[in-house]
Structure formats: structure tokens, C-alpha cells
Subunit: 317 residues, 2 copies
């Protein structure tokens, strides 16, 4: 970040994630511009509202809201809160809204979510990934409920930075943006490692919320689902290790214990299923399974869960 000059931030996709972090950044004094689709009218008129159990009731009104990227000013940072299922379609949007040399940060779960986008972006753009450990959901048009947590782990994917030191400067710059907004952020040396680490949570809870129609509290209260969650977590750790990414011993136990202390939470995949939207099965299940398999590692329970979810997803739409 240039001293004294706050970068202009564009939020691509203003759902629960984009809305929460966008409002937090705007309230910290950043010049944040929001791209919206179905909720444009509601937000242009009524602003954005975050009901946060951590930060209180936050309102942003007026909002710099746009219907199309062509109307947005050139942004130094583009934060992408849209679903991974639409990444390839986002390339023209990002190209339109990006200032020269802009940094693009995908706030998305799953593995290899940058791959679809990278070849469609100019080489001069930096591409980063951010993993959000947060309990947040849309309560209505322009209204976001933030239940707990909020930390972001950020890593560099690929772009004009040649060496690791230069990359880490960009990653630290991203982490600093969030910290200025009162959000815990961590610069990660290895984005793939960060993505695998986040999968330890997403693989069990996202899928089981759909498969069993259950939020975290009942899932954590039943002996059978607890065993299944822990077995799925162990498989993610095995997959990560087979792919050369070290997950700290005890990390799965930490996430498990954290979930036990969380307020009752419905993961985003449940909301997608409920609203008959495509589930993020590629990023969260298919690609980790394929990567582990290529490394000679079978993940049978994750595979069974993926197959069951694929069936449900196809019959839901």
C-alpha cells in the first residue's frame, strides 16, 4: 500500500462474504465499489446492513453500487466474493474493473479455483486467494448476518511477481487491508497449503449440511456424525500430505473444537442447495479428490460423500 494513499477496492459479487468484508473495509475508510446483480435496486436504495454478533449493527448507506463492471472506476484491488462455479465467466468483469497492475483476490473455498480464471486475465494482474473462516449468511436483500469469526488467510497464486519475497509483500499488503478494517488476516507462504487447510472444515461441514439437512449444532451433538466428520477431516489431512502440503498436527482437532463452540451455523452449501443453485462440488470435492488420486492417495469417505452430493445436486435443479 502506498503511504497515505488508500487503494480503491472493487467487490465483485456482493453476497454474504462480499457484503461483510466490503462493509467492514468501507467503514474503515477505504473507497469500496460494489458490483451487484439481483440486489442492485435494494442496495442502491437501502444500502448494506451487517448485523454482526462481533461488531454490532453496521450500516453502509449510500453504497457505491454498480449494475455492471463497465460503470466501475478502475480498482487497485478486486475482491471476488462470487461462487467458484462462475469463475470463468468473471474474467471479462474483472478485466473491465481492474486498474493496470491490479491485484485480484478470490475469497473462495476449494482447490484450484484460480485455474479457470488465470489464463483469461492479463499477465500484468496479480492473482491471490483468500480463505475466510467466518460464519456469515445473507438474511435478505442487502442484509447480512455475521454470527462469528472472520479471519482471512491469504496466499499468492500467480502473476507478475517473480520471486517469493515480492509475492509475500503483495500478500502482506492484502492482509494489511483487512487488518485496517479490524479483521484478523494472515499472510500464507503457500496458497495451496492454505486451501487444503480450509478444506479440513469445508469438506465435512458443507457436504453434510446438504446430505443430512443439518446445521453444525445437531451435527456436533450426534455420535455418528461426529465420527464421520472426524474421519472426513482425517482424509483431507491425508490428501494434503499426499500432495506435499503439511497440515499441523492437531489442526483438525482445533477446527472440530472450534465448531463445537460456534453458534449454530448453516454452511453456504446448504443455502445453495435450498435455493437450487449449483453446489461448489468441483472446487471442494472433485479437485481435491483428483489431486490426491494423482498422488496415489484414495480418500474413500470423501469420494462417497461427493458421489452422494453429485446425485443430490443433479436432482435438485
Amino acid at each position: 500500500m502506498q503511504a497515505g494513499v488508500k487503494p480503491r477496492i472493487g467487490m465483485i459479487g456482493t453476497g454474504a462474504i462480499g457484503g461483510f468484508y466490503g462493509v467492514m473495509l468501507a467503514r474503515a475508510g477505504f473507497d469500496v465499489h460494489f458490483l451487484l446483480r439481483s440486489e442492485f435496486n435494494a442496495v442502491a436504495e437501502g444500502g448494506l446492513q451487517v448485523d454482526s454478533a462481533v461488531h454490532g449493527a453496521l450500516a453502509l448507506n449510500p453504497v457505491q453500487a454498480y449494475r455492471s463492471a463497465a460503470e466501475m472506476p478502475p480498482c487497485d484491488w478486486l475482491l471476488v466474493g462470487a461462487k467458484t462455479t462462475s469463475n470463468a465467466e468473471l474474467a471479462p468483469v474483472i478485466r473491465q474493473a481492474a486498474a493496470p497492475g491490479a491485484k485480484v483476490l478470490l475469497l473462495q473455498n476449494g482447490l484450484d479455483v484460480e485455474e479457470a480464471l488465470r489464463p483469461l486475465l492479463p499477465d500484468s494482474l496479480h492473482l491471490l486467494g483468500g480463505l475466510c473462516l467466518i460464519c456469515v449468511h445473507r438474511a435478505g436483500p442487502g442484509v447480512i448476518t455475521h454470527q462469528a469469526l472472520g479471519a482471512v488467510n491469504i496466499g499468492y497464486h500467480i502473476g507478475p511477481c517473480g520471486d517469493q519475497a515480492e509475492r509475500m509483500l503483495i500478500v502482506e499488503e492484502a492482509a494489511t487491508l483487512f487488518r485496517h478494517a479490524g479483521i484478523d488476516a494472515q499472510a500464507m507462504a503457500d496458497l495451496q497449503q492454505a486451501r487444503w487447510q480450509k478444506l479440513v472444515w469445508n469438506v465435512p461441514y458443507n457436504g453434510l449440511s446438504v446430505l443430512l439437512g443439518a446445521s453444525t449444532t445437531p451435527l456436533m451433538a450426534d455420535a455418528a456424525s461426529r465420527e464421520l466428520i472426524q474421519a472426513l477431516m482425517r482424509e483431507v489431512v491425508q490428501g494434503a500430505q499426499a500432495c506435499g502440503h503439511h497440515i499441523a498436527p492437531g489442526y483438525a482437532d482445533y477446527l472440530f473444537a472450534m465448531t463445537e463452540k460456534m453458534p449454530d451455523y448453516w454452511p453456504s452449501m446448504h443455502h445453495d442447495h435450498l435455493h437450487k443453485r449449483a453446489l461448489e462440488l468441483e472446487a471442494i470435492y472433485a479437485r481435491p479428490l483428483a489431486a490426491a488420486k494423482a498422488a496415489g492417495c484414495a480418500l474413500p469417505k470423501i469420494e462417497a460423500l461427493y458421489q452422494a452430493l453429485a446425485f443430490m445436486d443433479r436432482h435438485n435443479r
Copy 2:
């Protein structure tokens, strides 16, 4: 079977299985007595009706129907069509209805279903198990729809027969009863082997009908569920082999292809779930998993399926 003398048969539990085989046996001239609970009045008044795609519309009226085993005459054969979940409670019922030296045939799926019952029965009673490969369901009180198939594989569990030759005579006697009624029946040398063999079908289809809320036709039409079914079948075969039971190569493929040709079918576990009855998870999942584990064989996909079903079952009642 003594020449010229048809044995008296008692049917314990007159649901879809008990009703179908009981009507078939009664219409073949056997003296069949039916124990009923909630459907006693309907059947005592209106008889039993089997709408069979194979045998046509069959009616049995009047029916020798009983509210309690104490009223039944002593039976030479007792066929048990009740759920495995109530086996321990069946012992007094069986003792009351059994003639001296009677043969008890459990028409039930799953592993070790005889174990709960055997210590509660007199040593003089023979205990056998029968695996029914049949598409049949209750359409209403006393009304049974038979969609397809019907063969029964029968084996000897334990009882007064000392040697294998003597046991096989009893098993052949049971098979002959069914054949007299126009039903394909097979005497199996090893009941445990027959039970594992039947699990190759029950483990995938029973569980997935509940987990995915889907009958056989949609399950067989989707690439992901087909793969999952085949993977679950492979694990059952592995479990059987680890426990020393040989499943013929190609047997799983045969069942898979057979299911593809069957009319659309909802397995019994789906009906149990729908009516908020206990699922037969012990017999069909927990015991096979435990047996395989004791033999050093992990069955991870079956275990994941079992854990998911255990969660659903507990939240359904």
C-alpha cells in the same frame, strides 16, 4: 416333509414379505396361520390380497388370522417376516406357536440376525435363515404389491442337527415348501455366506434409498450414484472375503445388472424411514462392519453410509 402330510406353517409378522409368501403357500394347499397386529381386523374381515406382476391378482379369504401366538395351533414351521429390530421380543411368540421340534425360518436381511433369538429358544427348535430376493411392498392393510422376483436362499443357523448332511435335509425341506408354492428356492450350505451375498444388494440400495431419497430407477440413471453403488458392492465383497466367505466373481455385477432391469423399486428401508420406524442398521450395516473390522478389513464407504444413516435415523424418530 413327511410323505403326504403337509406341515402346518405359522407366519410371524404379516407385512409385505410374510403376506406374500404366506398367501403363496396357503394357495398351494399348506395350512398357513397368520399372526397379525395392527392389521388384524382388516385381514380377518377382508382377507389378504397380493397384486403380483408375476402371478396375477391373488386373494386369500378367509385367512386363519390371530391376534396372539397363544391362540395359534402348534406349527411345524414358523416363518418370521417381522423386522430384525424386534428379534429378541419374538422369542416368547415363537415358543408359544412352535410344535415340538419345529423349524424356525427367519426371512430377514442382514448379518447375525439369528444371534439375538437363538439363546432364547428351546434347544429342540431348528433355526434357519432365508434371504428373499424380491420386490414387494405393502400397499395398504392386508394388501401387498409384488413387483418382481421372489427367490429365497435358505441356510441352517444352529439347532439340534449335529452334522451337515442332516442340516441340509432340513434346509432342502424348507426349499421344497417354497417350490411347492411356485417360488424359486435354493438350499445354501453356509447361511453366513448367503447373508453376505444378500448384503451386496442391501448395503447400497437400502441405505441410499434413505440417504438420497431415491428409488432404484433414479439411482441407476445417475453416473455418480452408479459409481457409489458399485463401490459399496465391492466393499461388501471385500468384507465377506475377509470373513472367509467367498462371493463368486461377477456376482455384484449380476445384481447391478438385475437391478437395472427391475421395475422401479423402493427398498424396505425407505418405507421404514418414511413411517418413522427404526431402520435395520444393526443387521445390515453395524454387524457386517464389525465382522470385517475384526478380520482386519476396513470398509470406509459403508462406514460413512452407516454413520450418515445413523444420524438420519436418530433425527427421524
